[in-house]
């Protein structure tokens, strides 16, 4: 990626001309631009999608989709300095589309032999990371609220960037974030209560056996 960076910068410089002269979609420029975006942001976009969907493989597919959409919609980016928020907006929509699709399509467990072998160590480590009570609480809150919290707290999107990524006004983004904090507080309390109840029930059972 680093090797192609000078080419990328050259292509960016040519972009304005190409647009104003013809208004045509310059594929080479768009391709170089997406490559540059990928180099800078693919890690955080992937992490955002993993946290939103709790599925690393699906997140990888959707990261790919997000960058293809960035390429396709290159012309909709008005200011290059807003590229990060614009990319998050695309990724956010991709994630919401997937979550909506999950609500429509009912998945049945695969009862046959799995194509793959046992999950890799990386996969198991990722599962562990996504299985804490905070992660479970995050999974329980509405997805738009979850997105707002993740983008604000973990991905450092500022007020206007957050609003842009969420596709809402600045005021609406702040309100969403406030609701998200309250939802998370309640979900986390519920998770911890359930955990404590399970623990005391387990202790009681052990005590009864002994």
């Amino acid at each position: 990626m680093a090797g192609s960076f000078s080419v990328v910068l050259g292509a960016r410089a040519a972009r304005a001309d190409g647009r104003s002269m013809s208004g045509a979609w310059d594929r080479d420029t768009a391709g170089s631009f997406v490559e540059e975006l990928f180099g800078k942001h693919h890690g955080e976009i992937y992490a955002y999608l993993v946290r939103m969907l709790r599925d690393p493989e699906l997140a990888a597919d959707l990261t790919q989709d997000a960058f293809v959409k960035a390429y396709r919609n290159y012309e909709s980016l008005e200011k290059p300095e807003n590229a990060r928020a614009w990319l998050y907006q695309i990724a956010h929509r991709v994630a919401l589309d997937e979550l909506r699709r999950r609500k429509i399509v009912r998945f049945l467990p695969w009862s046959g032999e799995s194509r793959g072998a046992a999950p890799s160590a990386e996969h198991l480590a990722m599962d562990l990371r996504l299985s804490g009570d905070l992660q479970r609480a995050l999974a329980r809150i509405p997805e738009r609220q979850r997105a707002a919290l993740l983008l604000a707290e973990l991905h450092d999107l500022t007020g206007l960037e957050l609003a842009s990524a969420l596709g809402v006004s600045h005021v609406a983004a702040r309100a969403l974030l406030t609701r998200a904090r309250e939802s998370l507080r309640q979900a986390l309390a519920a998770e911890r209560e359930a955990e404590a109840a399970a623990e005391s029930s387990s202790t009681a059972t052990t005590g009864g056996d002994g």
Binding site: G43, D65, F67, V68, L134, R181, E182, R185, L188
Partner: protein
């Protein structure tokens, strides 16, 4: 005129405002008068103070998630750049509804009762030739298209399938002698219906087989050695399977 709020309503509004400001203060600094009002309210409201402390503590926990690195797969750029290239290639030419150039056997007068029925199954290139098919997408499935011809010989509706390129096709048709024939051919190009841009499918070399009825569908056996012809009604009654040597095995 809005009636004045009762004391408990006023209190509810204040608690709501305090929680909103407590949340907003975590993300941005508050105007001085809001900050002062919030501090005063929290000093006298245990419940709101607990909520505000909860927000702050949850925020610290969220921030702790940063210390758990989430590494993208190593092949993500390879996959993404390939997908972008496919997107670029697709947008280069005029969009057209893909249509598998169909093979139409010469019209054979078989009588109105028998008509002409062809069942075609496209089996992925990897199945028939043993070579891996083109890698189109990480989530793309093997190309699979079925099309049927009615008694008039006209094709029925075919779903657009940009995947049905570089695929091997096998189908069963009535030959000139009135017997069913097994055909195979390679489809290398997909065009819009009626387009003259695609070269026609090369003349297949059919192998004669005898069947009492035209099969409903043809599938490849898992060992690549045979073709299985599925006969019978679509309602699942009275069906039969006929196994014949596959085109490559024959």
């Amino acid at each position: 005129m809005t009636p004045p709020l009762r004391l408990e309503e006023r209190g509810a509004v204040d608690h709501e405002r305090a929680r909103t400001l407590a949340s907003e203060r975590l993300h941005a600094s508050l105007p001085p008068h809001d900050a002062r009002w919030l501090d005063d309210h929290l000093a006298g409201c245990t419940a709101c103070r607990a909520v505000a402390e909860g927000y702050a503590s949850d925020r610290l926990e969220l921030e702790a998630l940063r210390r758990q690195p989430i590494e993208p797969p190593r092949d993500l750029w390879a996959r993404t750049s390939a997908a972008v290239e496919r997107e670029a290639a697709r947008s280069r030419g005029p969009r057209r509804a893909p249509f598998l150039r169909r093979h139409r056997p010469s019209p054979v007068p078989l009588g109105a009762a028998s008509g002409l029925l062809v069942v075609a199954v496209v089996i992925g290139a990897s199945l028939l030739s043993g070579q891996p098919g083109p890698s189109l997408s990480p989530r793309a499935t093997a190309p699979s298209v079925a099309m049927s011809f009615g008694p008039s010989g006209e094709a029925g509706p075919v779903d657009p399938t940009p995947l049905a390129v570089a695929a091997d096709v096998a189908w069963v048709s009535y030959g000139a002698n009135g017997k069913l024939e097994l055909n195979q051919a390679r489809v290398s190009e997909v065009c819009t219906e009626g387009s003259a841009e695609c070269a026609p499918i090369e003349a297949p070399s059919p192998g004669a087989i005898e069947l009492p009825e035209p099969p409903r569908t043809v599938v490849r056996s898992p060992d690549d050695e045979s073709l299985v012809l599925v006969e019978g009604d679509t309602d699942g009654t009275g069906g039969a399977l006929t196994v014949v040597p596959g085109p490559t095995a024959a």
